[in-house]
Amino acid sequence: MSRDSPLFTLRRLPLPDIRFPTIASIAAIFRAWVFLRGTRLGKRVRLLRGGRLRVEGAARITVSDLAWFNCGPIPTVLICAPGAEILIGVHSGFNYGVSLRARHSIRIGEECIFGAMVIVRDHDGHRTAPVVIGDRVWLGHGVMVEPGVTIGDDAVISAGSVVMEDVPPRMIAMGNPARCMPLRALRRPAGARGEGAQPEQAGTAS
Protein backbone atom coordinates (compact mmCIF):
# COMPACT_ATOMS: atom_id res chain seq x y z
CA MET A 1 0.00 0.00 0.00
CA SER A 2 1.31 3.43 -0.88
CA ARG A 3 2.21 5.71 1.97
CA ASP A 4 0.07 8.46 0.53
CA SER A 5 -3.09 6.46 0.05
CA PRO A 6 -5.92 7.40 2.39
CA LEU A 7 -6.16 3.79 3.50
CA PHE A 8 -2.71 4.07 5.00
CA THR A 9 -3.64 6.93 7.27
CA LEU A 10 -6.95 5.36 8.22
CA ARG A 11 -5.33 2.06 9.08
CA ARG A 12 -6.13 0.91 12.57
CA LEU A 13 -3.28 0.52 14.98
CA PRO A 14 -2.26 -3.10 15.53
CA LEU A 15 -3.07 -2.72 19.18
CA PRO A 16 -6.02 -3.74 21.27
CA ASP A 17 -8.95 -5.49 19.60
CA ILE A 18 -8.77 -9.23 19.49
CA ARG A 19 -11.65 -10.84 17.71
CA PHE A 20 -9.92 -14.04 16.67
CA PRO A 21 -7.25 -15.61 18.84
CA THR A 22 -3.92 -15.82 17.07
CA ILE A 23 -0.72 -17.46 18.23
CA ALA A 24 0.72 -14.03 19.07
CA SER A 25 -2.30 -13.01 21.14
CA ILE A 26 -2.35 -16.30 23.02
CA ALA A 27 1.36 -15.85 23.74
CA ALA A 28 0.69 -12.30 24.96
CA ILE A 29 -2.04 -13.53 27.31
CA PHE A 30 0.24 -16.28 28.60
CA ARG A 31 3.06 -13.80 29.13
CA ALA A 32 0.73 -11.56 31.15
CA TRP A 33 -0.34 -14.53 33.22
CA VAL A 34 3.30 -15.24 34.01
CA PHE A 35 4.52 -11.71 34.68
CA LEU A 36 1.41 -10.51 36.54
CA ARG A 37 1.14 -13.64 38.66
CA GLY A 38 -0.36 -12.88 42.07
CA THR A 39 -2.34 -9.82 40.99
CA ARG A 40 -6.10 -9.85 40.67
CA LEU A 41 -6.01 -10.45 36.96
CA GLY A 42 -8.95 -10.00 34.58
CA LYS A 43 -9.61 -11.91 31.42
CA ARG A 44 -7.49 -11.49 28.31
CA VAL A 45 -4.89 -9.17 29.82
CA ARG A 46 -2.04 -8.98 27.32
CA LEU A 47 1.68 -8.33 27.45
CA LEU A 48 2.46 -7.33 23.87
CA ARG A 49 6.06 -7.58 22.68
CA GLY A 50 8.91 -8.86 24.78
CA GLY A 51 10.25 -6.94 27.73
CA ARG A 52 10.41 -6.84 31.46
CA LEU A 53 7.57 -5.99 33.83
CA ARG A 54 8.27 -5.77 37.54
CA VAL A 55 5.49 -6.09 40.11
CA GLU A 56 5.76 -5.50 43.85
CA GLY A 57 2.85 -5.99 46.26
CA ALA A 58 0.97 -8.00 43.66
CA ALA A 59 -1.90 -9.00 45.96
CA ARG A 60 -3.19 -5.42 46.14
CA ILE A 61 -3.04 -4.71 42.42
CA THR A 62 -6.14 -5.22 40.27
CA VAL A 63 -5.74 -5.47 36.51
CA SER A 64 -9.15 -5.59 34.82
CA ASP A 65 -10.17 -7.37 31.63
CA LEU A 66 -8.52 -6.58 28.32
CA ALA A 67 -5.81 -4.33 29.78
CA TRP A 68 -2.63 -4.41 27.74
CA PHE A 69 1.02 -3.69 28.46
CA ASN A 70 3.40 -2.91 25.65
CA CYS A 71 6.83 -3.79 26.98
CA GLY A 72 10.00 -2.44 25.46
CA PRO A 73 13.53 -1.28 26.19
CA ILE A 74 12.75 0.18 29.60
CA PRO A 75 11.00 -2.05 32.17
CA THR A 76 7.44 -1.36 33.26
CA VAL A 77 7.09 -1.13 37.04
CA LEU A 78 4.00 -1.55 39.23
CA ILE A 79 4.83 -0.97 42.91
CA CYS A 80 2.17 -1.14 45.60
CA ALA A 81 3.18 -0.61 49.24
CA PRO A 82 1.41 -2.53 52.06
CA GLY A 83 -2.07 -1.09 52.61
CA ALA A 84 -2.14 0.65 49.26
CA GLU A 85 -4.03 -0.29 46.12
CA ILE A 86 -3.62 0.03 42.37
CA LEU A 87 -6.71 -0.40 40.22
CA ILE A 88 -6.41 -0.56 36.43
CA GLY A 89 -9.66 -0.31 34.49
CA VAL A 90 -11.01 -2.34 31.60
CA HIS A 91 -9.11 -2.08 28.29
CA SER A 92 -6.52 0.40 29.55
CA GLY A 93 -3.19 0.27 27.80
CA PHE A 94 0.35 1.00 28.90
CA ASN A 95 3.32 1.61 26.70
CA TYR A 96 6.85 0.70 27.78
CA GLY A 97 8.61 2.18 30.80
CA VAL A 98 5.45 3.20 32.68
CA SER A 99 5.88 3.27 36.43
CA LEU A 100 2.96 3.29 38.87
CA ARG A 101 4.07 3.71 42.48
CA ALA A 102 1.36 3.61 45.15
CA ARG A 103 1.47 4.14 48.92
CA HIS A 104 -2.22 5.08 49.21
CA SER A 105 -4.15 4.44 46.01
CA ILE A 106 -3.94 4.88 42.25
CA ARG A 107 -7.16 4.34 40.33
CA ILE A 108 -7.11 4.28 36.54
CA GLY A 109 -10.37 4.24 34.56
CA GLU A 110 -11.43 2.41 31.44
CA GLU A 111 -9.85 2.63 28.01
CA CYS A 112 -7.02 4.91 29.08
CA ILE A 113 -3.90 5.11 26.94
CA PHE A 114 -0.56 5.65 28.64
CA GLY A 115 2.41 6.67 26.53
CA ALA A 116 5.94 5.53 27.14
CA MET A 117 7.82 6.44 30.34
CA VAL A 118 4.80 7.87 32.16
CA ILE A 119 5.30 8.22 35.91
CA VAL A 120 2.25 8.14 38.20
CA ARG A 121 2.93 8.24 41.92
CA ASP A 122 0.76 9.10 44.90
CA HIS A 123 3.56 10.17 47.19
CA ASP A 124 6.44 12.54 46.94
CA GLY A 125 8.82 13.09 49.81
CA HIS A 126 6.32 15.16 51.78
CA ARG A 127 2.74 14.04 51.35
CA THR A 128 0.66 11.07 50.27
CA ALA A 129 -2.61 11.59 48.41
CA PRO A 130 -4.62 9.33 46.11
CA VAL A 131 -4.42 9.74 42.35
CA VAL A 132 -7.58 9.21 40.30
CA ILE A 133 -7.46 9.02 36.50
CA GLY A 134 -10.82 8.94 34.69
CA ASP A 135 -12.04 7.00 31.68
CA ARG A 136 -10.60 7.35 28.17
CA VAL A 137 -7.74 9.56 29.32
CA TRP A 138 -4.73 9.76 27.04
CA LEU A 139 -1.37 10.55 28.66
CA GLY A 140 1.40 11.30 26.22
CA HIS A 141 5.03 10.26 26.36
CA GLY A 142 6.91 11.08 29.55
CA VAL A 143 4.03 12.62 31.50
CA MET A 144 4.47 12.86 35.25
CA VAL A 145 1.40 12.86 37.52
CA GLU A 146 1.95 14.29 40.99
CA PRO A 147 0.17 13.04 44.17
CA GLY A 148 -3.42 14.13 44.83
CA VAL A 149 -4.25 14.83 41.18
CA THR A 150 -7.64 13.92 39.68
CA ILE A 151 -7.83 13.74 35.89
CA GLY A 152 -11.34 13.87 34.40
CA ASP A 153 -12.84 11.66 31.69
CA ASP A 154 -11.73 12.13 28.06
CA ALA A 155 -8.85 14.41 29.04
CA VAL A 156 -5.61 14.50 27.07
CA ILE A 157 -2.25 15.23 28.70
CA SER A 158 0.36 16.38 26.23
CA ALA A 159 3.79 14.75 26.00
CA GLY A 160 6.32 15.72 28.64
CA SER A 161 3.82 17.52 30.89
CA VAL A 162 4.00 17.58 34.66
CA VAL A 163 0.46 17.50 36.08
CA MET A 164 0.32 19.21 39.48
CA GLU A 165 -3.33 20.31 39.63
CA ASP A 166 -6.63 18.62 38.82
CA VAL A 167 -7.58 18.38 35.14
CA PRO A 168 -11.34 18.71 34.43
CA PRO A 169 -13.05 16.40 31.91
CA ARG A 170 -12.55 16.98 28.17
CA MET A 171 -9.56 19.27 28.63
CA ILE A 172 -6.08 19.16 27.21
CA ALA A 173 -3.26 19.87 29.65
CA MET A 174 0.23 20.79 28.51
CA GLY A 175 3.41 22.26 29.89
CA ASN A 176 5.52 22.14 32.98
CA PRO A 177 3.57 22.82 35.21
CA ALA A 178 0.57 21.72 33.14
CA ARG A 179 -2.02 24.31 32.12
CA CYS A 180 -5.48 23.31 30.90
CA MET A 181 -7.45 24.38 27.87
CA PRO A 182 -10.62 22.88 26.43
CA LEU A 183 -10.06 20.23 23.78
CA ARG A 184 -12.57 22.02 21.56
CA ALA A 185 -10.44 25.15 21.46
CA LEU A 186 -7.60 23.27 19.78
CA ARG A 187 -8.45 23.73 16.13
CA ARG A 188 -5.09 23.14 14.51
CA PRO A 189 -4.21 19.53 13.74
CA ALA A 190 -1.12 18.19 15.43
CA GLY A 191 2.09 18.66 13.50
CA ALA A 192 0.66 21.08 10.93
CA ARG A 193 2.13 24.21 12.41
CA GLY A 194 5.69 24.20 11.17
CA GLU A 195 5.27 27.43 9.22
CA GLY A 196 4.98 30.88 10.68
CA ALA A 197 7.09 30.30 13.76
CA GLN A 198 9.16 33.42 14.28
CA PRO A 199 12.25 33.60 16.42
CA GLU A 200 11.81 35.21 19.84
CA GLN A 201 8.20 34.18 19.84
CA ALA A 202 7.00 32.13 22.74
CA GLY A 203 4.43 29.56 21.82
CA THR A 204 2.99 26.29 22.93
CA ALA A 205 4.75 23.51 21.17
CA SER A 206 2.93 20.31 21.72
Binding site: T9, L15, P16, P73, H141, N176, G191, G194, A197, A205
Partner: protein, 173 residues
Protein backbone atom coordinates in the same frame (compact mmCIF):
# COMPACT_ATOMS: atom_id res chain seq x y z
CA UNK B 1 37.90 -7.11 14.74
CA UNK B 2 38.70 -9.82 17.24
CA UNK B 3 36.35 -12.68 17.89
CA UNK B 4 35.50 -11.28 21.32
CA UNK B 5 34.58 -7.89 19.84
CA UNK B 6 32.52 -9.52 17.10
CA UNK B 7 30.64 -11.55 19.70
CA UNK B 8 30.00 -8.42 21.78
CA UNK B 9 28.73 -6.58 18.74
CA UNK B 10 26.40 -9.46 17.85
CA UNK B 11 25.06 -9.52 21.40
CA UNK B 12 24.41 -5.75 21.33
CA UNK B 13 22.63 -5.92 18.01
CA UNK B 14 20.63 -9.09 18.56
CA UNK B 15 17.42 -7.02 18.73
CA UNK B 16 18.17 -5.40 15.39
CA UNK B 17 19.39 -8.27 13.22
CA UNK B 18 18.37 -7.84 9.60
CA UNK B 19 16.71 -4.49 10.27
CA UNK B 20 19.67 -2.13 10.71
CA UNK B 21 22.61 -2.00 8.35
CA UNK B 22 25.58 -0.52 10.15
CA UNK B 23 28.82 0.77 8.69
CA UNK B 24 32.02 -0.98 9.75
CA UNK B 25 33.13 2.02 11.83
CA UNK B 26 29.88 2.37 13.79
CA UNK B 27 30.56 2.32 17.52
CA UNK B 28 27.94 0.33 19.41
CA UNK B 29 27.83 0.13 23.21
CA UNK B 30 24.97 -1.70 24.91
CA UNK B 31 21.75 -2.86 23.29
CA UNK B 32 20.09 -1.52 20.16
CA UNK B 33 16.48 -2.53 19.49
CA UNK B 34 14.88 -2.22 16.08
CA UNK B 35 11.61 -4.15 16.25
CA UNK B 36 9.91 -2.44 13.28
CA UNK B 37 9.91 -3.74 9.72
CA UNK B 38 10.88 -0.40 8.15
CA UNK B 39 14.25 0.83 6.99
CA UNK B 40 17.00 2.14 9.29
CA UNK B 41 19.99 3.59 7.44
CA UNK B 42 23.17 4.54 9.27
CA UNK B 43 25.99 6.66 7.86
CA UNK B 44 29.70 6.61 8.58
CA UNK B 45 31.16 7.30 12.01
CA UNK B 46 27.91 6.96 13.95
CA UNK B 47 28.14 6.33 17.68
CA UNK B 48 25.28 4.51 19.40
CA UNK B 49 25.99 4.63 23.13
CA UNK B 50 23.33 2.60 24.91
CA UNK B 51 25.37 1.91 28.03
CA UNK B 52 22.60 2.95 30.48
CA UNK B 53 19.44 1.85 28.67
CA UNK B 54 18.70 0.37 25.24
CA UNK B 55 18.24 2.62 22.20
CA UNK B 56 14.99 2.04 20.30
CA UNK B 57 14.98 2.62 16.54
CA UNK B 58 11.39 1.76 15.60
CA UNK B 59 10.58 2.12 11.91
CA UNK B 60 7.06 1.00 11.05
CA UNK B 61 6.53 -0.81 7.72
CA UNK B 62 7.27 1.61 4.87
CA UNK B 63 9.01 4.09 7.16
CA UNK B 64 12.60 5.25 7.03
CA UNK B 65 14.97 6.37 9.78
CA UNK B 66 18.10 8.00 8.39
CA UNK B 67 21.11 8.68 10.60
CA UNK B 68 23.70 10.61 8.62
CA UNK B 69 27.46 10.69 9.13
CA UNK B 70 28.83 11.33 12.61
CA UNK B 71 25.55 11.20 14.52
CA UNK B 72 25.82 10.46 18.24
CA UNK B 73 22.88 8.87 20.06
CA UNK B 74 23.05 8.50 23.82
CA UNK B 75 21.45 5.85 25.97
CA UNK B 76 17.69 5.43 26.25
CA UNK B 77 16.92 7.60 23.23
CA UNK B 78 14.10 6.35 21.06
CA UNK B 79 13.07 7.20 17.52
CA UNK B 80 9.69 6.04 16.24
CA UNK B 81 8.98 6.64 12.58
CA UNK B 82 5.75 5.89 10.76
CA UNK B 83 6.88 7.83 7.68
CA UNK B 84 10.33 9.36 7.93
CA UNK B 85 12.80 10.75 10.44
CA UNK B 86 16.06 12.26 9.21
CA UNK B 87 18.91 13.14 11.56
CA UNK B 88 21.52 15.29 9.90
CA UNK B 89 25.26 14.91 10.02
CA UNK B 90 27.08 15.49 13.33
CA UNK B 91 23.85 15.85 15.33
CA UNK B 92 23.66 14.57 18.88
CA UNK B 93 20.66 13.10 20.69
CA UNK B 94 20.75 13.29 24.48
CA UNK B 95 19.90 10.53 26.90
CA UNK B 96 16.24 9.40 27.02
CA UNK B 97 15.21 11.83 24.31
CA UNK B 98 12.34 10.84 22.04
CA UNK B 99 11.54 11.58 18.41
CA UNK B 100 8.09 10.78 17.04
CA UNK B 101 6.71 11.54 13.58
CA UNK B 102 3.18 10.47 14.43
CA UNK B 103 1.13 11.05 17.55
CA UNK B 104 -0.46 7.56 17.18
CA UNK B 105 -3.87 8.61 18.53
CA UNK B 106 -6.39 11.26 17.58
CA UNK B 107 -7.40 13.94 20.03
CA UNK B 108 -11.09 13.40 19.41
CA UNK B 109 -13.04 10.53 17.96
CA UNK B 110 -11.72 7.01 17.60
CA UNK B 111 -8.35 6.85 19.33
CA UNK B 112 -7.39 3.67 17.52
CA UNK B 113 -7.26 5.34 14.10
CA UNK B 114 -3.73 6.34 13.19
CA UNK B 115 -3.51 10.07 12.42
CA UNK B 116 -1.52 11.56 9.57
CA UNK B 117 2.24 11.59 10.08
CA UNK B 118 4.45 14.63 9.68
CA UNK B 119 8.13 13.88 9.00
CA UNK B 120 10.70 15.09 11.50
CA UNK B 121 13.87 16.58 10.09
CA UNK B 122 17.01 17.51 12.00
CA UNK B 123 19.48 19.37 9.82
CA UNK B 124 23.23 19.32 10.46
CA UNK B 125 24.95 19.97 13.82
CA UNK B 126 21.78 19.89 15.92
CA UNK B 127 22.12 19.25 19.64
CA UNK B 128 19.17 17.69 21.48
CA UNK B 129 19.29 17.83 25.28
CA UNK B 130 18.50 14.88 27.50
CA UNK B 131 14.84 13.91 28.00
CA UNK B 132 13.56 16.28 25.35
CA UNK B 133 10.74 15.23 23.04
CA UNK B 134 10.38 16.12 19.36
CA UNK B 135 6.79 15.75 18.20
CA UNK B 136 5.47 15.35 14.62
CA UNK B 137 6.27 18.32 12.39
CA UNK B 138 9.46 19.36 14.17
CA UNK B 139 12.03 20.69 11.69
CA UNK B 140 15.21 21.89 13.35
CA UNK B 141 17.40 24.19 11.31
CA UNK B 142 21.16 23.81 11.05
CA UNK B 143 22.93 24.22 14.38
CA UNK B 144 19.80 24.40 16.54
CA UNK B 145 20.42 23.71 20.21
CA UNK B 146 17.57 22.18 22.18
CA UNK B 147 17.79 22.29 25.98
CA UNK B 148 16.97 19.47 28.36
CA UNK B 149 13.31 18.41 28.87
CA UNK B 150 12.10 20.53 25.93
CA UNK B 151 8.97 19.55 24.01
CA UNK B 152 8.92 20.88 20.45
CA UNK B 153 6.70 20.47 17.38
CA UNK B 154 7.76 23.45 15.27
CA UNK B 155 10.12 24.61 12.58
CA UNK B 156 13.11 26.42 14.04
CA UNK B 157 15.45 28.82 12.21
CA UNK B 158 19.15 27.93 11.84
CA UNK B 159 21.18 28.55 14.98
CA UNK B 160 18.19 28.89 17.30
CA UNK B 161 18.19 27.95 20.97
CA UNK B 162 15.04 26.20 22.18
CA UNK B 163 14.28 25.64 25.86
CA UNK B 164 11.28 24.74 27.97
CA UNK B 165 7.83 23.21 27.87
CA UNK B 166 6.00 25.07 26.28
CA UNK B 167 9.07 25.65 24.11
CA UNK B 168 10.52 29.14 23.68
CA UNK B 169 12.53 29.68 20.50
CA UNK B 170 15.28 32.30 20.78
CA UNK B 171 18.05 33.51 18.56
CA UNK B 172 21.33 34.03 20.44
CA UNK B 173 22.64 37.58 20.10
Amino acid sequence: MSLWEAAKRYWSLRGAIGRVKLAADTVVVGRILAPGKGLVRVGAGVRLDASQAPILLMAFPGAEILLEDGVVIESGASIEAVRSVRIGARSQLGAFSMILDNSFHQLEGDRKVLPESHPVVLEEDVLIGPRSILLPGAHLGRGTRVGPCTVLARRTPPGAVVVGHPAVIRMPA
